[in-house]
C-alpha cells in the first residue's frame, strides 16, 4: 500500500511536469493569434497582403497566491463555503489491538 502511494505520487509529479512542458512547447511553436485585447480591426483581404503585423504575445502572468476561502470580502467568493477540517490520514498505522482485561 505504501509503495503504491509513493508510486502514485511520483507518477502524478512526472505527468504534471511533462504536460506543462508539452503545453509550453506547443504554445511557443504555434502560430501567433491576434490579441484579444486589441481593438477590432477591419478585415483585410488576404489576397491583398500575405503578411499581417500581429501583436507579440503578452508575457504570461505569474501564478498568484490562492485567495483565502474565509476572507469574506471577495464578491467572487460569495458562494464558497468554508470546508470542514479534514481528518489526518495516517501514513502507516501501527498494529496495536485494543485488548481489554476484565474479570471473567
Amino acid at each position: 500500500m505504501k509503495n503504491f502511494k509513493v508510486g502514485l505520487r511520483i507518477w502524478i509529479l512526472v505527468t504534471s511536469v511533462l504536460s506543462f512542458m508539452t503545453g509550453w512547447a506547443m504554445l511557443a511553436h504555434a502560430g501567433k493569434p491576434a490579441s484579444l485585447f486589441q481593438q477590432a480591426q477591419p478585415t483585410q483581404n488576404p489576397a491583398s497582403s500575405q503578411t499581417t503585423n500581429l501583436p507579440t504575445l503578452l508575457p504570461m502572468p505569474t501564478l498568484i497566491a490562492p485567495i483565502p476561502l474565509n476572507n469574506g470580502s471577495s464578491a467572487s467568493n460569495a458562494n464558497l463555503q468554508p470546508l470542514p477540517a479534514l481528518p489526518v490520514i495516517q501514513q502507516q498505522q501501527s498494529f496495536m489491538p485494543s485488548f481489554r482485561t476484565r474479570g471473567s
Binding site: S94, P97, T101, G103
Partner: protein, 303 residues
C-alpha cells in the same frame, strides 16, 4: 468457554488467515473437552468416574497436574474441587442460561467441605490416567480457559511473530508489535464496565483478571458470585473486587488472580511472595488501587 475470544496478529494476510483458521479449530475442539456444561465432555466424564482410575488425554493430564501445583502454591485458595459449592450457590448452568432463566433450584445451604482434598488426586503418568477422590467433582473453567488461550497463541505464533489471543479479558501475547516497546492493555473498571481505569504497558506474556462483579446473580434474595472461597465453600467475602495479574503463563495468571481476589488485602502480599514472577494490581471495594511493588512499572501514567 462462554466467552468472547479475540485473535490479533501482525503479518501478511495470507499467513494471518491460515493462522487464524488453525487457531479457531484448536479453540473449538478444546472448549468441548474442558467444559462442565456438556454431558459428553472429557471433564464431565472424569467427574462421573470419581473414585476410579480414568484415562485422560495428554492435555487434560497436563492441566490437572498444573492444578495440583497451583493449589499448593496458593495454599489451597485455588482449588478446582469447589464445583459442588459453586453449583449450590446457583452456578449450575452456563452464565447465559442463568441470565436468561435465573439461577437454578439449588440448595442454598452451607455445603460441608469434603473430607478429601484435591491434593488427594492420584496421577499415573505411564498410562496417562488419574483418579479423583470418591465423590469429588472439579471445575476447570478459568485455568482451562487460560491454558487454551496460551496454546492458541502459540499455534498462531507459528504463522506470525507477533500475535495475541484474548479470551474474555484473559490474554496471551507473543512478540511485540512493530516499533512498539510493549502491548497496551486497557484495565477495565470493575464497578463500571464502560470505564477504563488505566492502560497497562506489558511485554509478551499473560494478563488475566478475576472479579466478583461480573458473574453475579441473585439467589433466594442473596447476591451471589462465582468466586468460591475453598475455606468456607461460599462465595468469597473479600475487600478486593478485582485483581489483575501479569505473568509469563496464562494459566498461572488466571489462578493467582482468583487466589489474590479471595485472599483480599490482608494476605495478598504473602500470597504473591510465593510466586515472584507475578505482578498484580487490585481494586478494592472503595475503588482504591493496590499493587505489588513492581506494578508501577506497568501502569501507564499518561492515561
Amino acid at each position: 468457554m462462554n466467552t468472547d475470544i479475540v485473535l490479533a496478529a501482525e503479518g501478511s494476510s495470507e499467513n494471518v488467515s491460515a493462522g487464524f483458521k488453525q487457531t479457531c479449530q484448536f479453540i473449538q475442539a478444546n472448549e468441548k473437552r474442558f467444559t462442565r456444561f456438556s454431558d459428553q465432555s472429557e471433564l464431565t466424564r472424569l467427574n462421573r468416574s470419581s473414585g476410579n482410575w480414568f484415562e485422560v488425554s495428554r492435555d487434560m493430564f497436563e492441566i490437572l497436574q498444573l492444578c495440583s501445583t497451583y493449589q499448593e502454591m496458593t495454599g489451597g485458595l485455588f482449588d478446582p474441587s469447589i464445583l459442588p459449592e459453586l453449583e449450590a450457590a446457583g452456578y449450575d448452568r452456563s452464565m447465559d442460561e442463568i441470565r436468561a432463566q435465573g439461577p437454578g433450584q439449588s440448595q442454598n445451604k452451607r455445603m460441608p467441605r469434603p473430607a478429601n482434598s484435591f491434593q488427594d488426586i492420584r496421577f499415573e503418568a505411564e498410562q496417562q490416567r488419574v483418579q479423583l477422590p470418591s465423590g469429588m467433582k472439579i471445575d476447570l473453567g478459568g485455568i482451562a480457559k487460560g491454558w487454551i488461550a496460551q496454546q492458541a497463541a502459540n499455534i498462531l505464533a507459528k504463522y506470525t511473530p507477533t500475535c495475541g489471543v484474548n479470551a474474555g479479558g484473559d490474554m496471551f501475547m507473543v512478540g511485540l508489535p512493530a516499533g512498539e516497546k510493549y502491548w497496551r492493555v486497557t484495565l477495565e473498571d470493575p464497578s463500571d464496565f464502560r470505564r477504563a481505569l488505566n492502560v497497562l504497558k506489558v511485554g509478551p506474556g499473560a494478563v488475566a483478571t478475576s472479579t466478583t462483579t461480573r458473574r453475579r446473580w441473585v439467589q433466594d434474595g442473596r447476591s451471589q458470585h462465582h468466586i468460591i472461597d475453598p475455606r468456607t465453600g461460599q462465595p468469597a467475602e473479600t475487600d478486593f473486587i478485582s485483581v489483575t495479574v501479569v505473568t509469563p503463563r496464562l494459566a498461572q495468571a488466571e489462578v493467582f488472580a482468583k487466589a489474590l481476589l479471595i485472599s483480599g488485602s490482608s494476605q495478598a502480599s504473602n500470597l504473591a511472595a510465593n510466586c515472584p514472577e507475578i505482578t498484580f494490581i487490585a481494586v478494592d471495594t472503595q475503588g482504591h488501587l493496590w499493587g505489588s511493588p513492581n506494578s508501577k512499572e506497568i501502569i501507564d501514567v499518561r492515561s
